[in-house]
Symmetry: C2
Subunit: 449 residues, 2 copies
């Protein structure tokens, strides 16, 4: 269904709700796919949502909570009675139910869990940190014994009638629940019913552990093109499975986070649809941090006020040095942050990256420095001004790429987010160093400027 069809259906739902024709509204709502329902629901606005919500059945409400953004889902959950919420959570995929429970107050979550029938599927998921493999996995998967036959496996599937999020693999475990192999549905269909699972399973399983960072788990899944990734505990026992749709979310989430953080928007959950008040609260603190570094750079310049009063043309070109350093540093920063995110820099080879970016920085600095130096010499007819600019540009652009490379590598080494605050640091250094280099070189050649 395309955007237009969704918009039309949304109008129909709105009109029906206003006319209190709830049946028509519900019918129209059901025509949408679950993902589109979440969007339509979000677009309805608070008042209409309150009217529609009680009219939805348990299953539709569960689908809706699965598809809504975390904060919106928590809002909806807050509007349900505890009893109804428990029914809805029972109907949801365990991993999504755990996410909703994690966003409620501890008291409310405890109440809902007490009322739930399938609480035991969700409780193990609650102990894992949000951004780990354990926080991402679902507990709804199917296990087999290696001694089962393919025919028995098919019988098990027929009995369970797995719903959509059950992955396309069956997991073979020993009596200690240790994972010893996987069987794809494809192999199962092709096998003859008497085949023993041990014979058709793939014993070379790629897996991750519950505590692994979700980004690292995502890289494993993407690297080996897996549609599902088993998650084991420290003892090798199967705890859950990460499915392809989780990976889509993680890849999008992590990319958003990196893009935002490089632009000093600290909160990856912020969207273009967030209210202004939230946007300002999340963005303004970082602008204040930027302000401090900008004022520090101003303080550096203030030491050369007398010089500038005598040679005012320095004020015209000082920002070129600072700015070009920032631009060169940002390039390196973006490449290194992205390479770290994709698991592309082995820790023991980080120095190679520094050397290489340093080389790139020198070459770029020489090219830009000579061009600008020459250009300004031709423009202003001042050879020494051109020379000072050239030298300051080379120095600052070299330092810029080094800082842009080292800062994210160090942040990663101390287990921090490589993108967080690194662009503030790069700008702080390139500005201050840029002004300092240019103006102190200018002091040296003052007589000739």
């Amino acid at each position: 269904m395309n955007k237009n069809a969704i918009d039309l259906t949304l109008e129909e739902i709105r009109a029906a709700l206003e006319a209190e024709q709830f049946d028509i509204a519900i019918q129209a709502f059901h025509r949408l796919r679950p993902a589109d329902r979440a969007e339509a629901f979000a677009d309805l606005g608070d008042k209409m949502q309150q009217v529609l919500l009680p009219e939805l059945d348990i299953e539709t409400t569960a689908d809706l909570l699965e598809e809504l953004e975390d904060m919106a889902a928590a809002d909806v959950a807050g509007n349900l009675t505890t009893e109804r919420l428990a029914d809805v959570l029972d109907e949801m995929e365990p991993d999504d139910a755990a996410d909703v429970l994690g966003d409620l107050t501890p008291e409310r979550a405890a109440e809902a869990l007490a009322e739930m029938e399938d609480a035991e599927e969700v409780i193990p998921l609650l102990e894992h940190e949000d951004e780990t493999a354990g926080g991402l996995m679902t507990t709804s998967f199917i296990t087999l014994s290696p001694d089962n036959t393919a025919g028995q496996a098919v019988q098990i599937l027929r009995r369970i009638k797995p719903d959509t999020e059950i992955p396309y693999y069956l997991y073979v475990v020993d009596t200690d629940y240790r994972l010893i192999g996987i069987v794809g549905l494809r192999e199962l269909v092709i096998a003859s019913p008497a085949d023993i699972i041990r014979r058709i399973m793939d014993p070379e399983v790629v897996y991750v552990t519950t505590a692994m960072d979700q980004e690292d788990a995502a890289n494993v899944m993407a690297r080996y093109d897996l549609a599902a990734l088993p998650v084991l505990n420290e003892e090798g026992r199967l705890q859950g499975v990460i499915t392809h749709d989780d990976l889509y979310n993680v890849l999008e989430e992590e990319a958003t986070e990196d893009i935002y953080r490089l632009a000093n928007v600290a909160d990856g959950d912020l969207t273009i649809h967030s209210p202004i008040s939230l946007e300002v609260r999340r963005r303004l603190p970082w602008l204040f941090l930027n302000t401090l570094t900008a004022l520090f750079a101003a303080w550096v310049i203030s030491h050369y006020e007398t010089l500038i009063a005598q040679v005012a043309i320095l004020a015209v070109f000082q920002s070129v040095v600072a700015g070009m350093g920032g631009n060169a540093g940002t390039q390196s920063l973006a490449m290194v942050v992205r390479a770290i995110a994709l698991g592309d820099i082995p820790p023991n080879k980080a120095y190679r990256t520094v050397l290489k970016e340093g080389g790139t920085g020198i070459i770029q600095g020489v090219c830009v420095g000579i061009s600008v130096g020459l250009g300004v010499y031709l423009w202003k007819g001042n050879l020494f001004l051109g020379l000072v600019l050239c030298l300051a540009l080379i120095g600052n652009m070299f330092i810029a790429v080094i800082v842009g490379t080292i800062v994210p590598l160090v942040l990663k080494a101390v287990k921090q987010d490589p993108a967080l605050a690194s662009s503030v640091l790069v700008t702080a250094v390139t500005d201050s160093v840029g002004f300092f280099l240019f103006l102190s070189l200018a002091t040296l050649f003052q007589g000739h400027l």
Copy 2:
């Protein structure tokens, strides 16, 4: 297999190749998973690659080409005889084979195609642009007639013995090859053999068309959590299927591209492992573009040289105004570019985004403007300097968010990449406008500074 194990195996392969013990080298190479083989192969270096390559069998070479980066795969393909290359391409997934052919010279590609046995699977893929749904899809999928039974479908699967990239869905087409439904392997396993496909298929298929941009196709797949997405031509006939592993690649590729472009690294294929010469060639042109805009901003300042000679303190603070505009504009730019990439801004609601970001910009400008104005007043004891800074900051930060929001929206509207060159434009505007606002306001209050 973890990084260490891969490194150890790599050492083993190196030692074996040096000792000309090819069997041992090949054995060690085979112990690696295909994705790891590609990494190990790339790490071997040119000379060792030349030694290893002829020793690999057709199937291993095909796996290797599927996993290597585009440029590396083209290099390897260039080192094979035409006959051998054709055999390898026959063995590869059609979509990967088409990618390799697309990177060869037209003559070489034509020669290889002429030698291939399964050229007819690959040729239809060659006509699609690289970054479209058609360029991403594979032609290896399985179709059923709606009148088949589930039992017949299982027989078809047993006969074909599909390999790994065949998706977990079977596609139901009418006699005109129009897609009328899909059947998951899950439904097929659960069904009884006599069930008619028409009864168990899902007729509500989400699909895209061949010409659709790959990023839009990826968003459809991620939105509806699909493990496979059928691609139809304009007449509704099934042309191919995009699989989950393609989506992983697209999500990573598009995120890399956006992060790079926002940092003025124009080429998404550049990696931290690219040679310095390539890095410089791809990054330096953008730095020169930045240089031009920096010199334009310098030209703006040069009109106020006399003023600065009289009131040198202006040179201390002018960069704060320009820089903070850049920071605020970059925040908006990142959020809007990301929202466009995720399909989050309906074209008819773009004006809302501009209004909202404008509001955020004003609020942030007032907060930062007042703080800096007050701070500088306390620092330098100059009330009018504080006032000029405050007003210039409010103006520049407001203009910055508006430009940061509008530029990507306009680029998207004219079907250009929203991230391309937009950060150059934002910096150009925030620098020039920042200096102009601050220095012209300073001119107004010159007597009091």
